[in-house]
Protein backbone atom coordinates (compact mmCIF):
# COMPACT_ATOMS: atom_id res chain seq x y z
CA UNK A 1 0.00 0.00 0.00
CA UNK A 2 2.90 2.32 0.73
CA UNK A 3 4.33 1.88 -2.72
CA UNK A 4 1.38 3.83 -4.11
CA UNK A 5 2.46 7.14 -2.67
CA UNK A 6 3.05 9.36 -5.67
CA UNK A 7 3.51 12.63 -3.80
CA UNK A 8 6.64 14.38 -4.91
CA UNK A 9 7.34 11.90 -7.66
CA UNK A 10 9.11 13.16 -10.75
CA UNK A 11 9.35 11.54 -14.17
CA UNK A 12 12.47 12.83 -15.93
CA UNK A 13 11.91 13.76 -19.55
CA UNK A 14 12.72 16.28 -22.23
CA UNK A 15 9.34 17.59 -23.41
CA UNK A 16 8.32 21.24 -23.69
CA UNK A 17 6.64 21.00 -20.30
CA UNK A 18 9.80 19.60 -18.74
CA UNK A 19 11.86 22.43 -20.20
CA UNK A 20 9.58 25.25 -19.10
CA UNK A 21 10.91 27.33 -16.24
CA UNK A 22 9.53 26.05 -12.92
CA UNK A 23 8.29 29.56 -12.13
CA UNK A 24 6.25 29.56 -15.34
CA UNK A 25 4.78 26.19 -14.48
CA UNK A 26 3.79 27.26 -10.97
CA UNK A 27 2.12 30.41 -12.33
CA UNK A 28 0.42 28.38 -15.06
CA UNK A 29 -0.92 25.96 -12.49
CA UNK A 30 -2.38 28.86 -10.52
CA UNK A 31 -4.02 30.21 -13.70
CA UNK A 32 -5.41 26.75 -14.49
CA UNK A 33 -6.79 26.29 -10.98
CA UNK A 34 -8.56 29.65 -11.12
CA UNK A 35 -9.91 28.73 -14.56
CA UNK A 36 -11.18 25.37 -13.26
CA UNK A 37 -13.15 27.15 -10.57
CA UNK A 38 -14.38 29.81 -13.00
CA UNK A 39 -15.68 27.28 -15.50
CA UNK A 40 -19.44 27.21 -14.88
CA UNK A 41 -21.22 25.59 -17.81
CA UNK A 42 -20.43 22.48 -19.76
CA UNK A 43 -18.66 24.34 -22.55
CA UNK A 44 -16.21 25.88 -20.05
CA UNK A 45 -15.69 22.54 -18.33
CA UNK A 46 -15.22 20.80 -21.65
CA UNK A 47 -12.58 23.35 -22.56
CA UNK A 48 -10.73 22.63 -19.31
CA UNK A 49 -10.84 18.88 -19.97
CA UNK A 50 -9.44 19.46 -23.44
CA UNK A 51 -6.66 21.71 -22.12
CA UNK A 52 -5.67 19.21 -19.44
CA UNK A 53 -5.68 16.37 -21.98
CA UNK A 54 -3.48 18.37 -24.36
CA UNK A 55 -1.06 19.14 -21.50
CA UNK A 56 -0.88 15.43 -20.65
CA UNK A 57 -0.15 14.47 -24.24
CA UNK A 58 2.46 17.19 -24.66
CA UNK A 59 4.26 16.15 -21.44
CA UNK A 60 4.03 12.44 -22.36
CA UNK A 61 2.50 11.60 -18.98
CA UNK A 62 0.61 8.32 -19.12
CA UNK A 63 -3.00 8.35 -17.87
CA UNK A 64 -2.03 5.39 -15.70
CA UNK A 65 0.33 7.44 -13.54
CA UNK A 66 -2.43 10.04 -13.11
CA UNK A 67 -4.89 7.33 -12.02
CA UNK A 68 -2.33 6.08 -9.53
CA UNK A 69 -2.14 9.56 -8.08
CA UNK A 70 -5.93 9.87 -7.98
CA UNK A 71 -6.43 6.64 -6.08
CA UNK A 72 -5.69 7.99 -2.59
CA UNK A 73 -8.18 10.82 -3.28
CA UNK A 74 -10.97 8.41 -4.19
CA UNK A 75 -12.62 8.72 -0.80
CA UNK A 76 -12.84 12.52 -0.99
CA UNK A 77 -14.16 12.35 -4.54
CA UNK A 78 -16.86 9.83 -3.66
CA UNK A 79 -17.76 11.68 -0.48
CA UNK A 80 -18.22 15.10 -2.13
CA UNK A 81 -20.14 13.67 -5.06
CA UNK A 82 -22.48 11.80 -2.69
CA UNK A 83 -23.10 14.93 -0.64
CA UNK A 84 -23.97 16.93 -3.77
CA UNK A 85 -26.04 14.09 -5.12
CA UNK A 86 -28.30 13.79 -2.10
CA UNK A 87 -28.47 17.34 -0.82
CA UNK A 88 -29.37 19.32 -3.91
CA UNK A 89 -32.97 20.46 -4.24
CA UNK A 90 -34.71 20.34 -7.62
CA UNK A 91 -36.68 18.03 -9.89
CA UNK A 92 -36.36 14.38 -8.86
CA UNK A 93 -34.99 12.01 -11.47
CA UNK A 94 -37.96 9.73 -10.80
CA UNK A 95 -40.99 10.89 -8.83
CA UNK A 96 -40.41 10.32 -5.11
CA UNK A 97 -36.62 9.91 -5.45
CA UNK A 98 -34.27 12.02 -3.38
CA UNK A 99 -31.81 12.27 -6.27
CA UNK A 100 -32.49 15.26 -8.49
CA UNK A 101 -31.35 16.22 -12.00
CA UNK A 102 -29.71 19.30 -10.51
CA UNK A 103 -27.93 17.13 -7.95
CA UNK A 104 -26.63 14.83 -10.66
CA UNK A 105 -25.27 17.74 -12.65
CA UNK A 106 -23.67 19.37 -9.64
CA UNK A 107 -21.97 16.26 -8.36
CA UNK A 108 -20.70 15.44 -11.84
CA UNK A 109 -19.18 18.91 -12.09
CA UNK A 110 -17.74 18.59 -8.61
CA UNK A 111 -16.03 15.29 -9.42
CA UNK A 112 -14.73 16.76 -12.66
CA UNK A 113 -13.36 19.78 -10.83
CA UNK A 114 -11.51 17.72 -8.22
CA UNK A 115 -10.11 15.32 -10.81
CA UNK A 116 -8.91 18.21 -13.00
CA UNK A 117 -7.36 19.98 -10.00
CA UNK A 118 -5.41 16.91 -8.97
CA UNK A 119 -4.43 16.04 -12.53
CA UNK A 120 -3.07 19.51 -13.24
CA UNK A 121 -1.13 19.53 -9.97
CA UNK A 122 0.36 16.15 -10.81
CA UNK A 123 1.32 17.47 -14.24
CA UNK A 124 3.44 20.05 -12.43
CA UNK A 125 5.15 17.68 -9.99
CA UNK A 126 5.60 14.90 -12.56
CA UNK A 127 7.44 17.17 -14.96
CA UNK A 128 9.45 19.30 -12.52
CA UNK A 129 12.30 18.00 -10.35
CA UNK A 130 11.72 18.81 -6.65
CA UNK A 131 14.84 20.98 -6.56
CA UNK A 132 13.66 23.03 -9.53
CA UNK A 133 10.20 23.24 -8.00
CA UNK A 134 11.34 24.54 -4.63
CA UNK A 135 13.88 26.78 -6.34
CA UNK A 136 11.09 28.26 -8.45
CA UNK A 137 8.92 28.72 -5.37
CA UNK A 138 11.74 30.45 -3.54
CA UNK A 139 12.25 32.86 -6.42
CA UNK A 140 8.54 33.54 -6.86
CA UNK A 141 8.04 34.18 -3.15
CA UNK A 142 11.24 36.18 -2.71
CA UNK A 143 9.39 39.54 -2.56
CA UNK A 144 7.93 38.27 0.72
CA UNK A 145 11.43 38.33 2.22
CA UNK A 146 10.96 42.09 2.53
CA UNK A 147 8.24 41.53 5.09
CA UNK A 148 10.46 39.03 6.91
CA UNK A 149 8.81 35.84 5.68
CA UNK A 150 11.53 33.13 5.92
CA UNK A 151 11.09 32.11 2.28
CA UNK A 152 14.39 30.27 1.94
CA UNK A 153 13.82 28.28 5.12
CA UNK A 154 10.30 27.30 4.07
CA UNK A 155 11.35 26.12 0.62
CA UNK A 156 14.36 24.29 2.08
CA UNK A 157 12.01 22.49 4.46
CA UNK A 158 9.73 21.50 1.57
CA UNK A 159 12.62 20.13 -0.48
CA UNK A 160 13.94 18.18 2.54
CA UNK A 161 10.48 16.75 3.14
CA UNK A 162 10.25 15.66 -0.50
CA UNK A 163 13.74 14.17 -0.31
CA UNK A 164 12.87 12.07 2.72
CA UNK A 165 9.51 10.71 1.56
CA UNK A 166 11.05 7.61 -0.10
CA UNK A 167 13.46 7.09 2.80
CA UNK A 168 10.65 7.23 5.36
CA UNK A 169 8.44 4.94 3.30
CA UNK A 170 11.26 2.41 3.19
CA UNK A 171 11.69 2.75 6.93
CA UNK A 172 7.96 2.31 7.58
CA UNK A 173 8.00 -0.86 5.53
CA UNK A 174 10.91 -2.15 7.58
CA UNK A 175 9.23 -1.36 10.89
CA UNK A 176 5.98 -2.96 9.70
CA UNK A 177 7.81 -6.15 8.79
CA UNK A 178 9.58 -6.13 12.14
CA UNK A 179 6.30 -5.73 13.99
CA UNK A 180 4.63 -8.39 11.87
CA UNK A 181 7.46 -10.75 12.73
CA UNK A 182 6.60 -10.10 16.35
CA UNK A 183 2.98 -11.04 15.70
CA UNK A 184 1.42 -7.64 15.03
CA UNK A 185 -1.74 -7.70 12.94
CA UNK A 186 -2.53 -4.76 10.66
CA UNK A 187 -5.03 -6.32 8.32
CA UNK A 188 -7.96 -7.49 10.39
CA UNK A 189 -10.34 -5.90 12.88
CA UNK A 190 -12.41 -2.74 12.87
CA UNK A 191 -11.26 0.79 12.25
CA UNK A 192 -10.36 1.41 15.90
CA UNK A 193 -8.39 -1.80 16.19
CA UNK A 194 -6.49 -1.07 13.02
CA UNK A 195 -5.75 2.48 14.09
CA UNK A 196 -4.43 1.16 17.39
CA UNK A 197 -2.23 -1.32 15.55
CA UNK A 198 -0.50 1.63 13.90
CA UNK A 199 0.88 2.95 17.21
CA UNK A 200 3.77 0.46 17.35
CA UNK A 201 4.72 1.67 13.86
CA UNK A 202 4.41 5.37 14.46
CA UNK A 203 6.41 5.50 17.68
CA UNK A 204 9.64 4.01 16.29
CA UNK A 205 9.15 5.96 13.08
CA UNK A 206 8.97 9.24 14.99
CA UNK A 207 11.93 8.40 17.17
CA UNK A 208 14.08 7.51 14.19
CA UNK A 209 12.92 10.58 12.25
CA UNK A 210 14.13 12.82 15.04
CA UNK A 211 17.48 11.08 15.06
CA UNK A 212 17.64 11.42 11.28
CA UNK A 213 16.81 15.11 11.46
CA UNK A 214 19.56 15.60 13.98
CA UNK A 215 22.16 13.78 11.89
CA UNK A 216 21.02 15.58 8.75
CA UNK A 217 21.42 18.95 10.45
CA UNK A 218 24.99 18.11 11.49
CA UNK A 219 25.79 16.83 7.99
CA UNK A 220 24.36 19.99 6.41
CA UNK A 221 26.37 22.21 8.71
CA UNK A 222 29.47 20.19 7.93
CA UNK A 223 28.87 21.05 4.30
CA UNK A 224 28.90 24.74 5.16
CA UNK A 225 25.13 25.29 5.10
CA UNK A 226 24.44 28.61 6.76
CA UNK A 227 21.05 29.70 5.46
CA UNK A 228 20.11 31.26 2.15
CA UNK A 229 22.49 34.20 2.38
CA UNK A 230 25.25 34.24 -0.22
CA UNK A 231 24.05 30.96 -1.69
CA UNK A 232 24.43 30.31 -5.41
CA UNK A 233 22.73 27.63 -7.51
CA UNK A 234 24.32 25.26 -9.97
CA UNK A 235 21.24 25.27 -12.20
CA UNK A 236 20.27 28.85 -12.97
CA UNK A 237 16.64 29.59 -13.75
CA UNK A 238 16.19 31.44 -17.03
CA UNK A 239 13.03 32.68 -18.71
CA UNK A 240 12.90 31.70 -22.38
CA UNK A 241 10.48 32.97 -25.06
CA UNK A 242 8.47 29.75 -24.63
CA UNK A 243 7.80 30.74 -21.02
CA UNK A 244 6.22 33.99 -22.19
CA UNK A 245 4.08 32.13 -24.73
CA UNK A 246 2.97 29.59 -22.16
CA UNK A 247 1.93 32.30 -19.73
CA UNK A 248 0.09 34.23 -22.46
CA UNK A 249 -1.79 31.06 -23.44
CA UNK A 250 -2.68 30.44 -19.80
CA UNK A 251 -3.97 33.99 -19.38
CA UNK A 252 -5.97 33.74 -22.62
CA UNK A 253 -7.54 30.49 -21.41
CA UNK A 254 -8.60 32.08 -18.12
CA UNK A 255 -10.04 35.08 -19.97
CA UNK A 256 -11.90 32.74 -22.32
CA UNK A 257 -13.40 30.76 -19.47
CA UNK A 258 -14.53 33.97 -17.74
CA UNK A 259 -16.19 35.20 -20.96
CA UNK A 260 -17.95 31.84 -21.40
CA UNK A 261 -19.16 32.11 -17.83
CA UNK A 262 -20.76 35.50 -18.62
CA UNK A 263 -22.82 33.77 -21.29
CA UNK A 264 -23.72 30.97 -18.90
CA UNK A 265 -21.92 28.36 -20.96
Amino acid sequence: MLKDVTLGQYFPGNTVTHRLDPRTKILLLILLIVAIFMAGGWVGNGLMIAVTAVCMIVSRIKPRSIFKGLKPMLFIIVFTSALNLFYTEGTPVFPGWIITWEGLERSAKMVLRIVLLITDTFLLTYTTSPIALTDGMERLLSPLKKIRVPVHEITMMISMALRFIPTLIEETDKIMSAQKARGADFETGGLVKRAKALIPILVPLFVSSFRRADELAVAMESRCYHGGEGRTRMKQLRFAPRDLWALLLGAALLAGVIVLRQFGL
Partner: protein, 272 residues
Protein backbone atom coordinates in the same frame (compact mmCIF):
# COMPACT_ATOMS: atom_id res chain seq x y z
CA UNK B 1 56.08 21.06 8.06
CA UNK B 2 53.26 22.32 10.26
CA UNK B 3 50.74 19.51 10.90
CA UNK B 4 47.31 20.15 9.40
CA UNK B 5 45.51 19.00 12.54
CA UNK B 6 46.89 19.37 16.04
CA UNK B 7 45.20 18.25 19.27
CA UNK B 8 46.70 19.79 22.39
CA UNK B 9 45.76 18.02 25.62
CA UNK B 10 42.11 17.72 24.57
CA UNK B 11 39.57 16.70 27.18
CA UNK B 12 35.90 16.34 26.42
CA UNK B 13 32.85 15.64 28.57
CA UNK B 14 29.25 15.98 27.35
CA UNK B 15 27.46 18.81 29.21
CA UNK B 16 25.11 16.46 31.06
CA UNK B 17 27.53 13.51 31.06
CA UNK B 18 29.67 12.40 33.97
CA UNK B 19 32.20 10.28 32.16
CA UNK B 20 35.03 11.95 30.31
CA UNK B 21 34.87 10.85 26.67
CA UNK B 22 38.31 12.13 25.67
CA UNK B 23 40.99 12.14 28.38
CA UNK B 24 43.87 14.33 27.30
CA UNK B 25 44.49 13.64 23.64
CA UNK B 26 47.71 14.91 22.07
CA UNK B 27 47.83 14.27 18.36
CA UNK B 28 49.36 15.69 15.22
CA UNK B 29 48.25 14.74 11.74
CA UNK B 30 50.49 15.56 8.78
CA UNK B 31 49.08 16.96 5.57
CA UNK B 32 48.66 14.36 2.83
CA UNK B 33 48.77 11.34 5.13
CA UNK B 34 46.23 8.55 5.45
CA UNK B 35 45.45 8.00 9.13
CA UNK B 36 43.17 5.24 10.36
CA UNK B 37 41.63 5.34 13.83
CA UNK B 38 40.59 2.00 15.24
CA UNK B 39 38.66 1.37 18.41
CA UNK B 40 35.64 -0.23 19.97
CA UNK B 41 32.23 1.35 20.45
CA UNK B 42 32.56 3.94 23.17
CA UNK B 43 36.31 4.25 22.77
CA UNK B 44 35.92 7.93 21.88
CA UNK B 45 36.95 7.60 18.24
CA UNK B 46 33.83 9.27 16.84
CA UNK B 47 34.10 12.04 19.42
CA UNK B 48 37.68 12.54 18.28
CA UNK B 49 36.49 12.87 14.68
CA UNK B 50 33.79 15.39 15.60
CA UNK B 51 36.47 17.62 17.14
CA UNK B 52 38.19 17.93 13.78
CA UNK B 53 35.54 20.18 12.21
CA UNK B 54 34.15 21.80 15.33
CA UNK B 55 30.94 19.80 15.60
CA UNK B 56 32.23 19.37 19.14
CA UNK B 57 34.59 21.75 20.90
CA UNK B 58 36.99 20.58 23.64
CA UNK B 59 36.01 21.24 27.26
CA UNK B 60 39.72 21.57 27.99
CA UNK B 61 42.74 21.97 25.71
CA UNK B 62 42.41 23.01 22.08
CA UNK B 63 42.29 21.72 18.54
CA UNK B 64 44.04 23.56 15.73
CA UNK B 65 43.12 22.91 12.10
CA UNK B 66 45.43 24.56 9.56
CA UNK B 67 46.26 27.05 12.30
CA UNK B 68 42.61 27.81 13.13
CA UNK B 69 41.34 27.20 16.65
CA UNK B 70 38.11 25.16 16.39
CA UNK B 71 36.66 27.12 19.32
CA UNK B 72 36.78 30.33 17.24
CA UNK B 73 33.20 30.75 15.98
CA UNK B 74 34.07 33.49 13.51
CA UNK B 75 36.22 31.05 11.57
CA UNK B 76 33.67 28.24 11.58
CA UNK B 77 32.88 28.38 7.86
CA UNK B 78 36.53 28.50 6.85
CA UNK B 79 37.23 25.59 9.15
CA UNK B 80 34.41 23.48 7.78
CA UNK B 81 35.51 24.01 4.20
CA UNK B 82 39.00 22.91 5.21
CA UNK B 83 37.84 19.70 6.88
CA UNK B 84 35.10 17.76 5.13
CA UNK B 85 33.20 15.16 7.11
CA UNK B 86 31.47 11.99 5.95
CA UNK B 87 29.16 10.21 8.38
CA UNK B 88 27.97 6.70 9.07
CA UNK B 89 24.49 6.73 7.56
CA UNK B 90 24.54 7.80 3.91
CA UNK B 91 20.76 8.37 3.89
CA UNK B 92 21.01 11.04 6.53
CA UNK B 93 23.58 13.17 4.76
CA UNK B 94 22.18 13.28 1.25
CA UNK B 95 20.03 16.38 0.89
CA UNK B 96 18.72 16.28 -2.67
CA UNK B 97 16.60 13.96 -4.83
CA UNK B 98 19.13 13.87 -7.64
CA UNK B 99 22.75 12.80 -7.22
CA UNK B 100 24.31 15.81 -8.96
CA UNK B 101 22.13 18.29 -7.08
CA UNK B 102 23.30 16.75 -3.84
CA UNK B 103 26.95 17.02 -4.76
CA UNK B 104 26.34 20.68 -5.67
CA UNK B 105 24.98 21.45 -2.20
CA UNK B 106 28.26 22.38 -0.48
CA UNK B 107 29.68 24.59 -3.27
CA UNK B 108 26.27 26.28 -3.52
CA UNK B 109 26.46 27.06 0.18
CA UNK B 110 29.90 28.54 -0.33
CA UNK B 111 28.61 30.86 -3.05
CA UNK B 112 30.74 29.41 -5.82
CA UNK B 113 29.76 30.72 -9.32
CA UNK B 114 27.36 28.32 -11.17
CA UNK B 115 29.82 27.41 -13.92
CA UNK B 116 32.51 26.44 -11.45
CA UNK B 117 30.00 24.42 -9.39
CA UNK B 118 29.23 22.39 -12.52
CA UNK B 119 32.95 21.69 -13.03
CA UNK B 120 33.50 20.78 -9.40
CA UNK B 121 30.47 18.47 -9.34
CA UNK B 122 31.56 16.63 -12.47
CA UNK B 123 35.13 16.29 -11.20
CA UNK B 124 34.00 15.05 -7.78
CA UNK B 125 31.61 12.50 -9.28
CA UNK B 126 34.29 11.21 -11.64
CA UNK B 127 36.75 10.95 -8.77
CA UNK B 128 34.45 8.62 -6.82
CA UNK B 129 33.34 6.77 -9.94
CA UNK B 130 29.70 7.86 -9.79
CA UNK B 131 29.60 10.16 -12.83
CA UNK B 132 27.32 7.81 -14.76
CA UNK B 133 24.81 7.96 -11.94
CA UNK B 134 24.64 11.77 -11.79
CA UNK B 135 20.96 11.93 -12.77
CA UNK B 136 19.85 9.08 -10.51
CA UNK B 137 17.73 9.30 -7.39
CA UNK B 138 19.95 8.59 -4.35
CA UNK B 139 17.45 6.31 -2.61
CA UNK B 140 17.67 3.83 -5.48
CA UNK B 141 21.45 3.38 -5.15
CA UNK B 142 23.25 0.73 -3.12
CA UNK B 143 24.79 1.60 0.25
CA UNK B 144 28.32 1.77 -1.12
CA UNK B 145 27.19 3.97 -4.01
CA UNK B 146 25.30 6.30 -1.67
CA UNK B 147 28.34 6.63 0.53
CA UNK B 148 30.48 7.45 -2.51
CA UNK B 149 27.96 10.15 -3.45
CA UNK B 150 28.28 11.49 0.09
CA UNK B 151 32.09 11.55 -0.33
CA UNK B 152 31.70 13.37 -3.67
CA UNK B 153 29.43 15.88 -1.93
CA UNK B 154 32.21 16.64 0.51
CA UNK B 155 35.13 16.75 -1.92
CA UNK B 156 33.20 19.14 -4.19
CA UNK B 157 33.87 21.58 -1.34
CA UNK B 158 37.60 21.03 -2.06
CA UNK B 159 38.65 20.44 1.54
CA UNK B 160 42.24 19.75 2.54
CA UNK B 161 41.23 17.06 5.01
CA UNK B 162 38.59 14.37 4.62
CA UNK B 163 37.37 12.88 7.89
CA UNK B 164 35.21 9.77 7.62
CA UNK B 165 33.34 8.77 10.76
CA UNK B 166 32.68 5.02 10.41
CA UNK B 167 31.63 5.38 6.77
CA UNK B 168 31.49 1.62 6.30
CA UNK B 169 29.58 0.61 9.43
CA UNK B 170 26.27 0.20 7.58
CA UNK B 171 27.63 -1.29 4.37
CA UNK B 172 28.04 -4.81 3.04
CA UNK B 173 31.58 -6.10 2.27
CA UNK B 174 31.31 -4.98 -1.37
CA UNK B 175 30.28 -1.44 -0.37
CA UNK B 176 33.04 -1.32 2.24
CA UNK B 177 35.65 -2.17 -0.36
CA UNK B 178 34.30 0.51 -2.73
CA UNK B 179 34.49 3.19 -0.06
CA UNK B 180 37.95 2.27 1.21
CA UNK B 181 39.33 2.13 -2.34
CA UNK B 182 37.81 5.54 -3.08
CA UNK B 183 39.33 7.25 -0.06
CA UNK B 184 42.70 5.57 -0.55
CA UNK B 185 42.76 6.89 -4.13
CA UNK B 186 41.85 10.38 -2.91
CA UNK B 187 44.84 10.37 -0.58
CA UNK B 188 47.33 8.81 -2.98
CA UNK B 189 46.30 10.62 -6.16
CA UNK B 190 45.03 13.98 -4.93
CA UNK B 191 47.21 14.28 -1.85
CA UNK B 192 44.19 14.81 0.37
CA UNK B 193 44.66 14.16 4.07
CA UNK B 194 42.36 11.30 5.06
CA UNK B 195 41.28 10.37 8.57
CA UNK B 196 39.31 7.12 8.54
CA UNK B 197 37.48 6.15 11.71
CA UNK B 198 36.51 2.49 11.73
CA UNK B 199 36.17 -0.67 13.72
CA UNK B 200 37.12 -2.94 10.85
CA UNK B 201 40.73 -3.92 11.22
CA UNK B 202 41.20 -4.80 7.55
CA UNK B 203 40.38 -1.24 6.46
CA UNK B 204 43.44 0.07 8.33
CA UNK B 205 46.03 -2.04 6.53
CA UNK B 206 46.51 0.42 3.67
CA UNK B 207 46.91 3.44 5.95
CA UNK B 208 50.16 5.30 6.61
CA UNK B 209 49.43 5.45 10.27
CA UNK B 210 47.15 3.59 12.64
CA UNK B 211 45.88 4.98 15.91
CA UNK B 212 44.13 2.72 18.40
CA UNK B 213 41.78 4.32 20.90
CA UNK B 214 40.39 2.92 24.10
CA UNK B 215 38.41 4.63 26.85
CA UNK B 216 39.15 8.11 25.55
CA UNK B 217 42.89 7.68 25.22
CA UNK B 218 45.28 6.74 22.46
CA UNK B 219 46.76 3.35 23.35
CA UNK B 220 48.76 2.68 20.20
CA UNK B 221 50.02 4.90 17.41
CA UNK B 222 52.32 3.97 14.56
CA UNK B 223 52.46 2.28 11.19
CA UNK B 224 49.83 -0.47 10.79
CA UNK B 225 52.63 -3.07 10.89
CA UNK B 226 54.03 -1.73 14.14
CA UNK B 227 50.61 -1.46 15.77
CA UNK B 228 49.33 -4.86 14.70
CA UNK B 229 52.52 -6.53 15.84
CA UNK B 230 51.56 -5.62 19.40
CA UNK B 231 49.27 -8.61 19.40
CA UNK B 232 48.80 -8.78 23.19
CA UNK B 233 47.74 -5.15 23.36
CA UNK B 234 45.26 -5.61 20.52
CA UNK B 235 43.80 -8.69 22.17
CA UNK B 236 43.47 -6.85 25.45
CA UNK B 237 41.48 -4.18 23.60
CA UNK B 238 39.34 -6.90 22.07
CA UNK B 239 40.46 -5.93 18.57
CA UNK B 240 41.36 -8.26 15.76
CA UNK B 241 44.73 -8.40 14.07
CA UNK B 242 45.19 -9.53 10.46
CA UNK B 243 45.45 -13.27 9.97
CA UNK B 244 49.01 -12.91 8.71
CA UNK B 245 50.11 -11.17 11.89
CA UNK B 246 48.33 -13.77 13.98
CA UNK B 247 50.03 -16.68 12.23
CA UNK B 248 53.46 -15.12 12.61
CA UNK B 249 52.76 -14.32 16.26
CA UNK B 250 51.66 -17.86 17.05
CA UNK B 251 54.79 -19.18 15.40
CA UNK B 252 56.92 -16.81 17.43
CA UNK B 253 58.19 -15.04 14.32
CA UNK B 254 58.68 -11.28 13.91
CA UNK B 255 55.18 -9.93 13.20
CA UNK B 256 56.04 -7.22 10.68
CA UNK B 257 54.31 -8.64 7.62
CA UNK B 258 50.76 -7.71 6.68
CA UNK B 259 50.38 -9.14 3.20
CA UNK B 260 50.20 -12.91 2.65
CA UNK B 261 53.27 -12.97 0.37
CA UNK B 262 55.67 -11.46 2.88
CA UNK B 263 54.13 -13.61 5.57
CA UNK B 264 54.77 -16.75 3.51
CA UNK B 265 58.34 -15.63 2.88
CA UNK B 266 58.95 -15.22 6.61
CA UNK B 267 57.65 -18.71 7.32
CA UNK B 268 59.66 -20.20 4.45
CA UNK B 269 62.80 -18.46 5.72
CA UNK B 270 62.29 -20.01 9.15
CA UNK B 271 61.69 -23.49 7.73
CA UNK B 272 64.86 -23.39 5.70
Amino acid sequence: MEPIIRFENVHFTYPEGEREILCGIDLEIDEGSFVAVLGHNGSGKSTLAKHMNAILVPTEGRVLVAGLDTADEDKLLELRRTVGMVFQNPDNQIVANVVEDDVAFAPENLGVPPKEIRERVDAALKQVGMYDFRMHAPHLLSGGQKQRVAIAGVIAMQPRVLVLDEPTAMLDPQGRREVVQTVTALCREKGMTVVLITHHMEECIGADRLIVMSNGSIVADGSPQAVFSQVELMEREGLDVPETTRVLHELGLPTDALDPETCAERIAARLR
